[in-house]
């Protein structure tokens, strides 16, 4: 569904992405892993067209995304740090997004708005919200328009355990609907029952892209966190 070929992106002297090629296919739930600053967010932003790669091509459903915008109506994106216009209220933000994306399939999915309890604080301004509540708004917006691809950048960072569990359940149910889900996270333990593939990056390069089962078999570990730390040790030694 998403095919990236040899994408390279440089920010000044830093090579954020170095010749990364990758294929993400439908129905998979892929974890993008790697140390801080390895280029995960840059990769995600390149897929969304927020960052324009210096070279290489990205295709969404066999069509190049450069200078295209329509394909984004099929992506739900939850940023790492959601930034919203400060003097808008939650309802205004949600209504604006509905207005922008209304041609989309079906009625908006407001499950998360309800289960996160956002409908009790709809009149609050975005600038007064805590980090966690802002994350909840981002999550609710990402899932709202029934997208076929979900891109979640550190979705549970800053969420309380209860909300993060609700979000996890939502991710699992969307996965069962056959959607492509990309997640970055540093909390490996919570990824165990979500993901099907692991995509590991280091210093802007792709280190490996494997099925979870294959990874577990290779390392002989049952837990993702242990398997990854085993590999990280091998790489650094």
């Amino acid at each position: 569904m998403i095919v990236a070929k040899n994408i390279t992106k440089q920010f000044g002297k830093l090579k954020a992405l170095d010749n990364v090629s990758v294929t993400f296919s439908e129905g998979e739930c892929i974890a993008l892993l790697g140390p801080n600053g390895c280029g995960k967010t840059t990769l995600i932003k390149s897929l969304l067209g927020m960052v324009v790669p210096d070279s290489g091509s990205i295709e969404f459903d066999k069509e190049s995304i450069s200078n295209k915008w329509k394909y984004r109506s099929r992506i739900g994106y939850m940023p790492q740090i959601g930034r919203y216009p400060e003097n808008m209220t939650i309802t205004q933000v949600i209504d604006m997004m509905k207005d922008i994306r209304k041609e989309n399939n079906g009625s908006p999915d407001e499950d998360l708005v309800r289960s996160f309890g956002l409908n009790n604080i709809l009149q609050k301004k975005m600038s007064t919200l805590s980090g966690g509540t802002t994350q909840k708004v981002s999550a609710a917006l990402a899932f709202m328009f029934n997208p076929s691809v979900l891109v979640l950048d550190e979705p549970t960072a800053g969420l309380d355990p209860l909300s993060s569990e609700k979000l996890k359940q939502k991710i699992i149910s969307e996965k069962q609907n056959g959607k492509l889900i990309l997640i970055t996270s540093h909390i490996l333990s919570e990824l165990d029952d979500l993901i099907t593939e692991v995509f590991y990056m280091q210093e802007g390069r792709l280190l490996f892209h494997k099925k979870l089962a294959a990874l577990k078999e290779e390392t002989g570990e049952m837990k993702l966190s242990k398997a990854i730390s085993k590999i990280m040790n091998e790489v650094t030694v």
């Binding site: 329509k70 984004r72 922008i100």
Partner: protein, 255 residues
Amino acid sequence: MKKLLKYVIADIIQNKIVLLYTALLLIISLSVFNLENSSAKGLLSLLNIILILVPLICIIFSTIYMYNSAEFIELLVSQPLKRRTIWLSLFTGLAVSLSVAYFIGVGIPILLYHADATGIIMIITGLFLTVVFVSIALLSAGLTRDKAKGIGLSISFWLYFSLIFDALILFLLFQFQDYPLEKIMVILSFLNPIGLSRVQILLQMDISALMGYTGAIFREFFGNSTGIILSFIGLCVWAIIPLMISLKKFKHKDL
């Protein structure tokens, strides 16, 4: 585009600066017209205030607004919208709300006190100046990511067009006074939107004593009506080109 424009304009109106700007212009115009005993004199005093104040406020407000909308832009770019639509909506929102402010603050008093051809040309020129300086503001906001640098750049643009440019012209004139400079001066006068507006209104008013060097040459060269049309075309170019450069920059910007 329409959808976005609605949110941009709502946001600008919530920001009370535009309302203050309208009130300020209204107070200035009304007091100028009431202080001078002839409305033609009033119009002339108003012209000088407008040529300084309108560009300054338009450019600085628009630059700051663009930087403060960084979050909004970031949110929109990840949505199914063309970058072109986002940028042009912001531009149109700013241009429309500042033009409305100008029309209420200056246009209506002019229509009340001095509603002849000169007055109407002055209203139109002011609207053009507003759009031109919003466009230049978008350019400086597009050139740098740093807010302080962007605002600094905007202030430099304003200083350049309202003071430094004229000084440079005078300097050139004195240095090369032995040479025929008329043609060059006409070309140079197109390089400054504020100067162009001044020439335009003075051509209409037909006050050669106040026209300055470029103005006098302008009239000699084109005659009054051709001069006015040409200077309008010049102002249009000034509104479009900075906008197009900033749009091109924005299309490749990393957010």
